[in-house]
């Protein structure tokens, strides 16, 4: 990343201060949450606006991690997200590839069906998905949840791959054919590696959607609390019998940390993935 040095002038200093003050509104809740996670429950209630804990302690993290079972929820979130990413990347890259490279019967139909159903809300399809999963004995299982999050939808990832492969020169594929590479080898060894940035964007977008998914994991884990993901565990924790403000904040910090770290390292892919929605 290149760093350009911009001179501080009166006008941009004023703008910066203005934006920074507004920015504080955006990060204050996070600062408060971190501060509360290091306080005792009594201190949270009594300390008013003081953000610095008297004697910071990680007790709340221990309570959230062990007693409130966020260790399980955390692992579940990771496994569910990893599974969803795997399914989405595989099926979307395969489909995007053939949709971009070949003409075949049903191509138009497939594309237009996907475009028409692009915006279908989860609320509309959830009951039949749960019904189907129930019949296939996938309800209350991890595989069932992963499929519910990854097997349908994700039209934008298919389109992203299609767009990318559509722009790669056909000569690459032809060179592969001349060298005697099979269909799978051309895809796996030549084309897919070229699509690295698209794959990175797809991974990030799927990570965000599955890590933050709520409705499906909620419904899929009703009778199996062992499979709860972080957001579902968070709600159970806040509506539970014991009131533990510090523990809730610690759990919140634990849930935000992985995705915040991912953002720091892969900022460009987050931005590209989101900006992709308006560019297409």
């Amino acid at each position: 990343m290149k760093r350009s040095h911009i001179k501080w002038t009166p006008s941009n200093t004023i703008l910066f201060i203005f934006l920074f003050l507004f920015g504080l509104i955006w990060i204050y809740p996070f600062v408060w949450m971190i501060s509360a996670s290091l306080k005792t429950n009594l201190e949270i209630i009594l300390s008013g606006l003081n953000l610095v804990p008297k004697s910071p302690s990680f007790d709340a993290y221990k309570r959230a991690w062990v007693e409130a079972r966020f260790n399980t929820y955390f692992l579940n979130s990771i496994l569910t997200s990893a599974g969803s990413i795997l399914v989405v990347v595989i099926r979307c890259s395969l489909a995007g590839y053939v949709l971009a490279m070949y003409n075949f019967k049903g191509k138009k139909l497939i594309t237009s069906i996907m475009l028409i159903t692009f915006f279908v809300p989860v609320g509309t399809t959830l009951i039949p998905i749960v019904d189907l999963s129930n019949k296939l004995h996938l309800l209350n299982t991890r595989v069932g949840l992963i499929l519910a999050l990854s097997a349908g939808g994700h039209v934008s990832s298919v389109l992203l791959y299609r767009g990318f492969f559509g722009q790669t020169p056909k000569s690459l594929m032809e060179a592969g054919i001349i060298d005697g590479a099979s269909f799978i080898q051309i895809f796996g060894k030549i084309m897919l590696p070229l699509a690295g940035p698209v794959t990175a964007t797809t991974i990030i977008m799927t990570f965000m959607s599955s890590w933050n998914a709520f409705m499906q994991p909620l419904v899929f884990t009703f009778s199996n609390p062992n499979l709860r993901t972080l957001p579902v565990g968070m709600m159970a924790f806040s509506k539970g019998d014991t009131i533990d403000y510090g523990g809730q904040c610690a759990a919140a910090v634990l849930s935000v940390t992985p995705i915040a770290i991912a953002y720091i390292f892969a900022q460009q892919y987050f931005v590209n993935g989101i900006a992709g929605a308006v560019k297409s």
Partner: protein, 300 residues
């Protein structure tokens, strides 16, 4: 130029499409058909006896005050939050797009942090932040002298709850629209601004006459995306208010969820009818948008 190559490898093509075709059919297409089918039955839970009841769920739905209420709440919420998210994000984007703006990445990260955070977590944390006894918002209000206002439970009061939830929603999603706007603004070539400058335009004029017309198509996409987010607000509401107090924030998706999955009132057929109406309501808005968009494009 069309080359004659080896014949099209149909076997591989359909094999590559198979996972998406099967997955999409099972988890998107078939469920849409099933929802309509369920909506014509008396289905309560899974495995319960099902009777065909025709359109009676729909008739009942439109006589159900709580369903009408949920449509109105959704619509009100949308009208409240979409313009706010749209305008605030545009202003911040214009500021961050300014060439001389300092620390863009830092500021963008500030605004983007809530977008990364799960709605369920935001819901839980804001219940604490808005707590009328110890939450920082109420402490600040009472320090400023608004003692009465500080004691109002913003989330427990019918007259304040929707606006409060709306503010939190705008706070959460603003950074998303900000990225949209920045991408749109960056698609405008610098030369155009420079040409305007040479012609003597000030920055307001160059926004009005150079950037604004080029932003119109983007603005519509951004609007559609925000509207579709706003209509589908579920996660935040479920954790923040659970539709309360007394249904003041029960959006359509919460209504569907309550009838489909909350054990005491489980009526899946009825919920499916609501889900079908919701999908229709949703498509009407999306279609309306694209019609308006086409119309505007002609005008520009």
């Amino acid at each position: 130029m069309k080359q004659k190559r080896a014949r099209t490898p149909y076997f591989w093509i359909y094999l590559f499409l198979l996972p998406t075709l099967v997955g999409y059919s099972m988890y998107t297409l078939w469920p849409i058909i099933r929802t309509v089918q369920f909506s014509l039955t008396s289905m309560r839970g899974f495995g319960s006896k099902v009777r065909f009841v025709g359109l009676s769920n729909y008739v009942q739905l439109f006589q159900d005050e709580l369903f009408i209420n949920s449509l109105l709440v959704t619509l009100k919420f949308m009208l409240l939050v979409v313009p706010a998210r749209f305008l605030i994000s545009l202003l911040f984007a214009l500021a961050l797009n300014w060439k001389k703006c300092q620390s863009k990445t830092l500021l963008r990260t500030f605004f983007f942090l809530p977008v990364l955070t799960t709605s369920a977590i935001i819901g839980v944390v804001f219940i604490l932040i808005l707590d009328p006894t110890f939450g920082p918002i109420s402490v600040i209000l009472s320090k400023l002298g608004y003692v009465d206002l500080a004691r109002i439970p913003l989330l427990g009061n019918r007259s304040t709850v929707l606006a409060t939830a709306g503010a939190i929603w705008v706070w959460k999603w603003m950074g998303n629209s900000l990225i949209y706007w920045l991408a749109s603004l960056q698609s405008i070539p610098d030369e155009l601004y420079e040409a305007a400058k040479i012609d003597g335009a000030n920055s307001l004029q160059s926004f009005r006459y150079v950037a604004a017309p080029l932003l119109v198509p983007f603005a519509f996409i951004i609007l559609v995306l925000s509207i579709s987010d706003a209509i589908r607000v579920f996660n935040l509401m479920l954790t923040l208010t659970n539709g309360g107090p007394y249904f003041a924030t029960e959006t359509v998706e919460l209504f569907i969820y309550r009838h489909a999955f909350q054990a005491t009132t489980q009526r899946m057929g009825y919920a499916s009818a609501a889900a079908s109406v919701f999908a229709m309501f949703f498509s009407v808005i999306i279609i309306l948008q694209s019609v308006v968009k086409r119309f505007v494009k002609k005008e520009v």
